[in-house]
């Protein structure tokens, strides 16, 4: 008789659970964060620091990582996220790591994220969480790139990803998205998403 092994999810929120990662790989983003935080005298809350951070991270940080190393860090965070259980309104380890990496390494990180999402190398749920982060982040140097990702994902085949992009957009409070949302509303087939698109559109228009 064949038996099936079922591996359940671990449930703690915001704690590292990438059991497939080595301790060294796991620690890397945090080492970087600590270094950047020390250099810039930041608090634990990335949002507090955002207005003061330029796209150019401190030279000490920049020298440490090659683009390959950054790619590996991003990929490892995405792998770990597959076993993370996300809950709206709760800060996840994935979200924290992604925001910090984006602040530290800017477009290099976003390029890797785009390839992971668009080539379907992560689950729809993780992609949606990423897009929410892209909208939450208030980091001017990466704004155009993040907005492009959000617009691009509004047309994604998977409704979960379109939904993530829409929630991300609702965080931005930016009228830039209005024409794209109007087009998305024309194309959208999911009745729940149509209602949400209308709601976000009307909210952004109310900001005019």
């Amino acid at each position: 008789m064949n038996r099936v092994l079922f591996l359940g999810r671990q449930t703690a929120i915001g704690s590292p659970r990438g059991i497939e990662l080595s301790a060294e790989t796991w620690a890397e983003p945090w080492k970087t964060q600590v270094r950047v935080k020390r250099n810039l005298n930041l608090t634990d809350d990335p949002r507090v620091a955002q207005p003061y951070i330029k796209d150019d991270p401190p030279s000490s940080t920049k020298e440490v990582k090659t683009s390959d190393e950054i790619d590996k860090m991003v990929e490892s965070i995405f792998r770990a996220a597959e076993s993370e259980e996300f809950e709206d309104g709760m800060v996840s380890f994935f979200q924290k790591s992604l925001k910090w990496l984006t602040i530290c390494y800017g477009s290099q990180v976003l390029t890797t994220i785009v390839s992971i999402i668009l080539y379907g190398r992560c689950s729809e749920e993780v992609a949606a969480q990423t897009l929410k982060c892209m909208g939450q982040l208030n980091h001017l140097p990466t704004k155009d790139f993040r907005f492009w990702i959000l617009v691009r994902c509004l047309k994604n085949e998977a409704w979960v990803i379109r939904d993530g992009a829409l929630i991300g957009i609702s965080y931005t409070k930016d009228m830039f998205f209005i024409p794209y949302l109007e087009q998305a509303l024309v194309d959208e087939k999911h009745k729940g998403l149509c209602k949400d698109l209308e709601k976000v559109l009307s909210y952004l228009k109310s900001l005019r």
């Binding site: 709760m90 965080y171 999911h190 729940g192």
Partner: protein, 162 residues
């Protein structure tokens, strides 16, 4: 008609088109994951007929989170649940608003089949809504100003989050 409110992980799972293989009257498995039970109990809030307490319940729920985020929720008919024989009990909620805590209800002694039956009721008759992050922020702020929620009971810096 008294209503019950259940917060969901993603209300659009309930509104997605049914897969072709699904039999009529059945419910897909994915949305059921939104009905996470604890001790075979499902946590809901009672909403008045005129929905006058809806925004207060949502604000209280949002205020116990770590950051401002959208709230997806379902509203469904309390009478239908009672008619089906579900065991319900008022218990103290765990929000920073004492009044809202009194509107907390537990649907108890849920078996697997009862949970699926509940999901069917929700799918057939539930109203699925989303409160955007900006709306959630306003709800929290309004309820803090109205002194329904003590600022000290909020997660520190919650209103600074994007």
């Amino acid at each position: 008609m008294p209503l019950l409110l259940r917060v969901l992980r993603n209300k659009n799972k309930w509104l997605a088109q049914d897969p072709e293989w699904l039999q009529k009257g059945d419910v897909p498995a994915d949305p059921i994951a939104c009905l996470k039970t604890d001790q075979n109990t499902l946590s809901v809030f009672s909403i008045k007929d005129d929905r006058a307490n809806l925004s207060r319940v949502l604000a209280a729920y949002a205020a116990k989170r770590q950051q401002v985020a959208q709230i997806d929720f379902a509203l469904f008919n309390e009478n239908k649940i009672r008619e089906k024989g579900y065991k319900m009990a008022s218990t103290k909620g765990n929000t920073p608003d004492r009044v809202v805590n009194d509107w907390h209800i537990e649907i108890q002694e849920l078996s697997g089949s009862y949970l699926v039956e509940l999901a069917k009721i929700l799918k057939a008759d539930g109203e699925f809504e989303r409160c955007l992050p900006a709306e959630v922020r306003k709800l929290i702020t309004d309820n803090v100003h109205a002194k329904n929620i003590e600022p000290d009971d909020l997660t520190p810096n919650i209103l600074d989050s994007p």
